[in-house]
Symmetry: C2
Subunit: 385 residues, 2 copies
């Protein structure tokens, strides 16, 4: 799969600063994006009932639909750190606001990394010292994408043009990923002019079909956050065109996330067609893409379609007729009666498309995931991540 290389379309009026403030080691761990004017903003957060302190605070700060800066650290998620953790996130927002002459609530904080360790807030505050000047250093959105990585093996970013306006998106994450109404960390910046209300509606629709249709290991993070800021510098845009561009970009980032999943060797796309409803199609597709036995089978190209039957059948609360289930592979979808031919398809392709036809109704859904390898176990067993 092609990795992102260049950012073609850069929205006007944003500046970026990244640094290593030494939270864990000397790799990049702190990033700030600042808009020179107040920006309409929308955000979605994890539905995990245990949420990070940055999310508790971020929900307050996004409430009025306006932001002017976001500040993100990696290497520590500030989750399960109690009241002190909340105060730490507030301190970071206050410092950022003071340095940039903003109100505290114009700053949205994010943290990602290990859970349950006190945030080394002094290191972060030191990293923000003189921020106004530092923002002139010319860091790029690519740098920002790199600064927020945890176990990611490459920075994830992309851009789109909507007539006069530009849209940039970045994302991080490669484990603890089954987004529920939001995703790992992902940020979009545009100079298009859109109201906070519209921005919120568009973001919800797009996330449902992209990040919320991604599952890497069925574990829903406590820090999932997606934020979009629209500073209006490029003027108005056609909202349909904007939504389409945002969807396209979010999908590209979703695919990067699946492909760069911990230990993954394959991008696995599952289409469920003809379920009783879209909701049921999504449930069945998620059951397949989260099944360890399906995920291990595709890893080494075992044409073990019985496991797909099993995963369809185990889905709770959906209508299925076992006699009507059809399993197809590839694009265009093809039924393989020859198992060794199917094995070759599975082994030779880095991206696999599975189509399961249920012939019950007209509910279709597509989800994104990956295979399960020894390396996933190794990464998560031998190091605290």
């Amino acid at each position: 799969m092609k990795r992102p290389e260049i950012l073609e379309h850069i929205p006007a009026g944003f500046s970026v600063y990244v640094t290593s403030c030494g939270i864990k080691d000397n790799t990049l761990d702190l990033g700030v994006v600042y808009s020179e004017v107040p920006a309409a903003a929308a955000a979605m957060f994890t539905r995990n009932k245990v949420v990070g302190n940055p999310i508790l605070l971020g929900k307050e700060h996004i409430a009025n639909g306006m932001l002017q800066a976001i500040v993100v650290n990696s290497k520590n998620s500030n989750v399960a750190t109690g009241k002190q953790g909340y105060m730490d996130s507030l301190e970071i927002c206050k410092k950022t606001a003071k340095e940039l002459s903003l109100k505290t609530k114009d700053v949205l904080p994010s943290s990602t990394g290990v859970i349950g360790r006190p945030l080394p807030v002094d290191k972060i505050l030191a990293g923000l010292e003189g921020l106004s000047e530092k923002l002139k250093s010319g860091n790029s959105f690519q740098d920002f994408a790199a600064a927020i990585m945890t176990t990611d093996t490459f920075p994830k970013f992309g851009s789109r043009k909507i007539v006069n306006a530009s849209l940039v998106g970045v994302a991080k994450g490669s484990g603890m990923i089954e987004p529920n109404m939001a995703t790992m960390l992902s940020y979009f910046f545009t100079d298009a002019q859109i109201s906070p209300k519209k921005l919120n509606e568009i973001l919800k629709r797009v996330v449902e079909k992209t990040y919320n249709s991604l599952s890497i290991d069925s574990d829903t993070s406590t820090s999932d956050t997606v934020v979009i800021m629209a500073n209006g510098k490029a003027g108005k845009v056609d909202e349909k065109e904007f939504e389409s561009a945002l969807y396209d970009l979010a999908l590209e980032l979703t695919r990067y996330l699946a492909f760069d999943a911990e230990g993954a060797t394959k991008l696995f796309v599952v289409d469920v067609k003809g379920a009783a409803s879209k909701k049921e199609a999504k449930k069945i597709a998620k059951s397949i893409i989260n099944s360890p036995l399906v995920k291990t089978a595709i890893y080494q190209g075992d044409p073990n379609w019985g496991r797909i039957f099993m995963a369809v059948g185990k889905t709770d609360g959906v209508k299925v007729d076992p006699d009507k289930i059809q399993i197809l592979w590839g694009n265009p979808p093809k039924e393989y009666s020859d198992l060794s031919e199917l094995s070759s398809y599975l082994k030779q392709n880095e991206e696999l498309l599975l189509t399961v036809k249920l012939s019950i109704g007209d509910g279709d859904w597509r989800v994104y995931g990956c295979d399960l390898t020894e390396e996933y176990v190794h990464i998560n067993a031998f190091y605290t991540t």
Copy 2:
């Protein structure tokens, strides 16, 4: 963990035959248990919507609460094999009935193994030829436990005495295990005298707290079956005492299943206490025991308790107060503030007990599972199982 060695208590009036009929190779693959008199019987089956043909037929045969023989093959599950598969299972029951002068519906069939391959029924029928004589060969319940194994590394069996009566249980299974109202394959035989109705009630209650509280990889098999036969040869027993013995034995087998799970190195027991209800406690406990990130962490003794927080919080539709969650380990449960001490506990014990206190209500539940290792991936990626 101690493996089962001897069977102390053998119920009267049952005989066993096992053989290799060459379904896949020359290892044991066929087993029959026969009661010399008709036995009260109860059974529970998988709730997967895709079910094996033996289950479709078995449900018909158990309907009147009486059985006299069960016939089980390993190496092929006869699942997703269409109408022919159903006819094959029927043929096997007919042959067994004819050899033993029974009615066809007094025979319950089971099959376990690969999904979606035609059952080599002729080999099985040949194996059953002359069954009446073969049953005199003196095979044991241990032999039967061995004949029904798939990826199991040791046969699982146990026995109990209830005053005058004896109870034997066997079980198999080590992957595709998240029983839903039933389990992999498990059979109990007793010479106690109990009505089919009572037997059914007792079995349901026992299974709920044992097999239905076990999850190895969250994948619900299409063949899960648990059957009990009570032939009455030892006369009546106190039903409370019988239920207690059955629970005790089923729990022992459940623990064997968890410990012998594919690739597992640790038996992992999770107690959730103080949830809003028993049902919510079970949901949360299952969320923890199925979390790949929790399972990989305990594998190498990573004291990464943040992942347990995450798994509690991601559980759908339950009440949780993050500030009240307490995580304790060991027996008696102990809070570890020193992470290296916790790591030692995790590394040094083959059986781990995690207690999560929620302090919301009085719902408690205990579930059984195991760690997730590279070997699990290897077993399921490199061979068709």
